[in-house]
Amino acid sequence: MWQGFPLRPDQASTIAQGVDHLYYFLTAIDLFFTAVIFLTIFYFAIRYRRRSEKDQPTQIEGNIPLELLWTLIPLGLVTITFLWGTSLFVQNARPPAAAAEIFVVGKQWMWKIQHPEGIEEINELHVPVNRAVKLTMTSEDVIHDFSVPAFRIKKDVVPGMYTSEWFEATKTGTFHLFCDQYCGTNHALMKGEVIVMEPAAYEQWLSGGVRGETMTQAGAKLYDQLACITCHGTGKGPPLSGIYNRPVKLSDGTTVTADDAYLRESILVPSAKIVEGYPPIMPTYKGQVTEEQLLQLIAYIRSLTPQAGKTDK
């Protein structure tokens, strides 16, 4: 494109091109109707300008076929746009099964990123090219938004819940990462970079990083430290192996899926949803674990369910 005056950001993800095509389609509609309205107004304005105060214009009260025409044509166009935009969005909202997962915690005014391998980075996200990556995100304070224009994705990062987005980078390079949801004084400084690397370089980066323990190992350690095993390993509390993403029957008769959100809630507000057949004795861990540690605990619980995800729809 025009080097000095680009009209679109880099197309650096598998999603980008599809979004751009829809954008071109909408731009074409826009230009067409803007041209129609502008040119018609200009033409009428010149052709029917007032030549004398005695002008007696032809009075036309309306025209039903014309009204129908300019109701139905826009209706048809917006229907097409809606169907196109929605199918693309739903498709883009569903990460491929094999996506690697990276965890993001937003905080005024920085991005804290954890790789499952244990590497943590701030305001930088290193990812391999041509590999689907899913971000699971939450915030420690206010609502942020994790936006990467070159990938055409963004999603709010909301305290108290996990949101997610995914991408598969198609180009190596460094791309902008913005916080797009106004989050207070230094909102404009909550920027970072997504660095897309060749797989080999990425592996090298991974091994070169200060590699402590994987998230699962960190979670296992926390599991010990917090003495979760005293209940969950002894039958006083429900066992945790093999539950991830499986249905859990609750004491009030309902059933929930033991997903990230459920596990998070059960650690922070244990009394909210009690598993059937167990007494409500678990204390809250609110204030004792950070958002990052919560993610580590969840990672550990996930690892107790072999091949989680393969089994559910």
Binding site: F5, P6, L7, R8, P9, V19, L22, Y23, L26, I29, D30, T34, I37, F38, I41, F44, A45, Y48, R49, D55, P57, T58, Q59, E61, G62, W70, T71, V78, T79, F82, G85, T86, F89, V90, N92, A93, Q108, D141, V142, I143, S147, P149, R152, I153, K154, K155, D156, P159, G160, M161, C179, D180, Y182, C183, G184, H187, A188, L189, V269, K286
Partner: protein, 540 residues
């Protein structure tokens, strides 16, 4: 055309019927209250505009040419709060609506004149609270007051700003209530619904939004204030509250509020286009019912502000479909105005320039809305400058152009004086050019990914930002010119006479400025609105 232009100073009318500050501050005359609003709204417009100028100046440099990010945040918050709650929402309804609704239906006043005065006092109370918030240290939540930022994490004057918007909201509710009752119950004999000027259909539709939407905003802001005061956890996820609920309550009002701003403008355009083309409106009932349709559908689309907020994607799909639905009545209006010009006798007085500008800019603003109603493109464009460009095309290119057009159209009626038409056309042209230069680059910036509400931005966005800032300064000049010549004309402008434009409508059948009771004797209506020339016998 009016020929009997009597010098207004020689007879008694609403402006000289009484003198002294008390006769204004305690007036129940809808025309005087309209002028109270005009003065206060103009003041707020320039306050909000000053904030915009400072913001644009700051954005000339990627690292901020003028102020710290903290100050910049206060500037855009103040710009949003003042412009939306204290300028755009009351602009046309409270000024032109107040002045014209009784005159257009042939009534002596609104149904509840004292309530009308109360509305203005509530508006001023709200305005003073908001100004207090600004002067006493500012507020930096943005006009959206998103939780939990506004409830827990900022230390600025959120409560007084929210309270200001809350009180001004009640002013808006009472104005809407007054208009609805007046239009239902006070029409002159013969003024049937389908003989009403389209301005009244627009004002009526606006009033529906005001009375049914505003109370929900009031509750949302009350909850924010309570949460700030007592930390009870209504929107605090740590306690089980949900910050996204605030967004639902907020946008339930604040999306329809966009139509509180644009619908009255659409009404003004219908009046101006017919007058200066000497034409009956093309498709009266389509234009009339599209106003009501917009008012109703506007309440079904608020979730399109929340496509990437963590809202359920199924709710997103529903809101996306409904958002497209609101495009249809808007398109109908634009096509009908354009068709009205066909075979007209078009003259280019200043109001008509604003009206034609409105049609063009509203078209562009409306069409770019499609990008944001589309889920897949919104995922890229949400909270970028594309959104900023889009809503300024609607609110400035649409609402403000319509407001200025209306002020120019009815100024001779309000004051009895004409303004210098050459200056007025020049100002219209300057505003149009400045506007496009300011906001068109913002579409491009948005697609490139520049987030909104950024005091500091990556250097590659600088060229477009400088263009935008240059446009803003041109626009600023454009707004100052009318301020000067309109004030000048009150004293020195040529006498206008009752109907300088040769327009149709009851308000033009009474002297300018009108007498306090509006009409010497109450009119009886015998013809449709816009009866310019004979009706065509054979409908094409």
């Amino acid at each position: 055309m009016a020929t009997a232009a009597v010098n207004p100073d020689t007879r008694v009318h609403y402006l000289n019927a009484d003198y002294g500050i008390k006769s204004w501050l305690l007036t129940t005359d809808h025309k005087r209250i309209a002028l109270l609003y005009l003065a206060s709204i103009t003041m707020f417009f320039f306050v909000g505009g000053a904030a915009a100028v400072l913001m644009r100046l700051n954005l000339i440099e990627p690292n901020g040419a003028l102020v710290e990010p903290a100050t910049y945040n206060k500037l855009f918050s103040m710009h949003g709060i003042v412009m939306i709650f204290f300028f755009l929402i009351p602009s046309i309804p409270a000024v032109l609506g107040n002045f014209l609704v009784p005159m257009m239906i042939g009534a002596r006043d609104l149904a509840f004149p004292r309530l009308n005065l109360l509305s203005w006092y509530l508006y001023m109370t709200g305005g003073i609270l908001a100004l207090y918030a600004v002067i006493g240290g500012g507020v930096d939540t943005g006009w959206t007051f998103y939780t939990p930022l506004s409830t827990t994490y900022v230390n600025t004057n959120v409560i007084s700003a929210a309270l200001g918007a809350f009180v001004a909201g009640f002013s808006s509710i009472l104005t809407g209530l007054n208009f609805i009752v007046t239009i239902h119950k006070m029409r002159a004999p013969g003024m049937t619904w389908f003989r009403m000027p389209l301005f009244l259909w627009a004002i009526y539709s606006t009033s529906i939004i005001q009375i049914l939407g505003t109370p929900v905003l009031a509750i949302a802001l009350t909850l924010v204030a309570l949460e700030r005061l007592f930390h009870v956890g209504v929107f605090d996820p740590a306690v089980g509250g949900d910050p996204i609920l605030f967004q639902h309550l907020f946008w339930f009002y604040s999306h329809p509020a966009v139509y509180i701003m644009i619908l009255p403008s659409m009404g003004v355009i219908s009046e101006i286009v017919t007058c200066f083309a000497k034409k009956r409106i093309f498709g009266y009932s389509f234009v009339a019912f599209s106003s009501v349709a917009i008012a109703v559908i506007s309440f079904l689309v608020w979730g399109h502000h929340m496509f990437v907020s963590g809202q359920s994607i199924y709710a997103g799909i529903i809101f996306s479909a409904l958002s497209f639905a609101v495009a249809i009545p808007s398109a109908i209006k634009v096509f009908n105005w354009t068709a009205t010009l066909y075979k007209g006798s078009i003259s280019y007085d200043a109001p008509m320039l604003y009206a034609l500008g409105f049609i063009g800019l509203f078209t562009m603003g409306g069409l770019t809305g499609l990008f944001l109603a589309t889920l897949a493109t919104d995922q890229h464009l949400h909270d970028t400058y594309f959104v900023v460009g889009h809503f300024h095309y609607i609110m400035v290119g649409g609402a403000v152009m319509g407001y200025l057009g209306g002020i120019h159209f009815w100024w001779p009626k309000i004051t009895g004086r004409l303004y210098p038409d050459g200056w007025a056309r020049l100002a219209a042209a300057i505003i149009f050019v400045g506007f496009n230069l300011t906001f068109f680059p913002q579409y491009l910036l948005g697609y490139l990914g520049m987030p909104r509400r950024y005091a500091i931005y990556p250097p590659e966005f600088q060229v477009l930002n400088v263009m935008s800032s240059a446009g803003a300064s041109i626009q600023g000049v454009g707004y100052l010119i009318p301020l000067i010549y309109l004030i000048w004309s009150i004293r020195y402008g040529p006498v206008a006479g009752p109907n300088p434009w040769g327009a149709k409508g009851l308000e033009w059948e009474t002297p300018s400025p009108p007498p306090t009771e509006n009409f010497k004797e109450l009119p009886v209506v015998t013809e449709e609105a816009y009866a310019y020339g004979e009706k065509e016998t054979h409908v094409a």
